[in-house]
Amino acid sequence: MPPSTEAVARVGVLAPSGMLGAGFDPETIERGLALDPDVIAIDGGSTDSGPHYLGAAVAKTTAAAVRRDLRILIKAAATADIPLIVGSCGTSGTDSGVDWVAGIAEQIMAEEGLDLKIARIYSEQEAAFLKEELDAGRVHPLAPHGPLQPETLESCTHIVGMMGHEPFVEAIRAGAQVILAGRATDTALAAAVPMMLGMPGGPAWHAAKVVECGGQCTTDPRAGGVFATIDHNGFVIEPLAAANACTPLSVAAHMLYETANPYRMREPAGTLDVSDATYTALDERRVRVEGSRFEPAEQHTIKLEGAQVTGYETVSFTGIRDPYITANIDRWAALLRLIVTDRVGQTLGLTDDEYGLDIRLYGHNAILEDIDPDSTPPREVGVMLVVNAPSQATATAIAKVANPLMLHLPLPEMEYLPSFAFATSPAETPRGAAYEFVLNHVVDVDSATSMFRTEYSREVSRA
């Protein structure tokens, strides 16, 4: 049974964890079901681990981990007769990511003797469609980006649009019980059922933001997910694990996490503003939040994400313990770059603008480079060479040209030939295609659902 769409007094959202496949204690789900949820909502992805997952359309999580979590959640949703929503399937929310999770879900249902209706909501976008929108002046940059060039759209291997809550609501109203979505805002998954059941936008979106990383808003983020109860004036947040706690500080501080602006957050349909939100402890583990507002936008917008191939990479890694060289490591690294560049020209006929080299000195300043506040000489240095070239063969060839230097390069004044400590044999590791996110733009839309396509596992009756 799809949930009633009549106005209700409160809506419960069970958020099992920050990401499908991250794992959780099944007992926390049992506790969540006892709190009478109206939906189970969990995120399947993020851009946080980099553009590879969108560019190559592969998941960060392994299938076994997704299967384990999904089995528990599908059974819980079936038992409670409530919808299960998974957003950003397959890490990046590509169409193949949705199909990947759907395949796992179908296998689980066959094994468990369940027959829930699945909705697949696809979010991949065609460059040709977006070029038309761009020509029509309906694509706008977000800071710090400038206007979009049509060639950039063409260069992407995959482009997704981030859906709001509306496609989820449409699928649930159509009777779907397991909703597997492409790219969606992290908050849309948890806000969908509260919005559908008539909760105000302020509490619905603020609660959704608080639960989007599971236990991150609790005093012990490793202890599992959280439960939000949204009503017409605010919401109550509590952890699923009995021993865990939400405090006014832990809940308020979560608005800081991975947000550039801690007070205002844009969604496709408008902006959540928590400037005047109040956080009150109900007891030692539950917090009530009131005063959040949602300002509907004049123009509904869909944010785009796209990744392009920047080349092919090969990595090589050697270690230096020789105290004379570690004491002069910046000079040594500059010499390495100079000689590698020269040798690559001699042997491969490539000039230094035809490929990229990054020499990272781990143990010295690899992470922060020239903004590192500490200039203490290192005891040992890991030298990582990263090569980016137009083909994998070229990238590996350049790394192989560098190999004898990463084994033996002395400083000019040294009277002996050092030998360094390669970490592996062979020293070179081809990494495949390298990607970059190149879109940070939104599309003006007249309909919140028009850029997304929903397919159902079988004929469903309209509610």
Partner: protein, 121 residues
């Protein structure tokens, strides 16, 4: 003065935690969770920590630095566009999870009005 060190105190000495993270692929954000309101007053002092200081620490454009001072949480939050595109050849911190260190190491001018947090190390 902190007895465990002989260097001038840093912002991190007055904080429970200083952390950094991506805020989407194109922004980095960092927070100083100060230990109390006196420590917060140090971090929130605009003559000590401002857009120009952050721009200098991170070699970014001061005009694009955003600072949020949040007394209710004893937090100062700083956001700016990522100077290096995430996962590009020059990116050495994919999640931007280690970029709080220059901020934490910022020297606090004396006299300080709060006691630094006691630390094991």
């Amino acid at each position: 003065m902190p007895e465990h060190s002989n260097h001038p105190p840093t912002l991190g000495d007055y904080a429970i935690e200083v952390r950094s993270k991506n805020a989407g692929p194109f922004w980095v954000t960092m927070e100083t969770f100060m230990k109390d309101s006196a420590a917060y007053a140090i971090a929130a002092d605009e003559s000590f920590l401002n857009e120009a200081v952050v721009a200098d620490l991170y070699r970014v454009d001061a005009a694009q630095v955003q600072i949020f001072r949040i007394p209710a949480l004893n937090v100062v939050k700083i956001s700016f566009p990522r100077p290096v595109t995430q996962a590009s050849l020059r990116d050495r911190d994919i999640h931007a999870g280690q970029h709080h260190v220059p901020l934490a190491a910022l020297r606090v001018p004396e006299p300080a009005t709060a006691e630094p947090v006691e630390r094991d190390n």
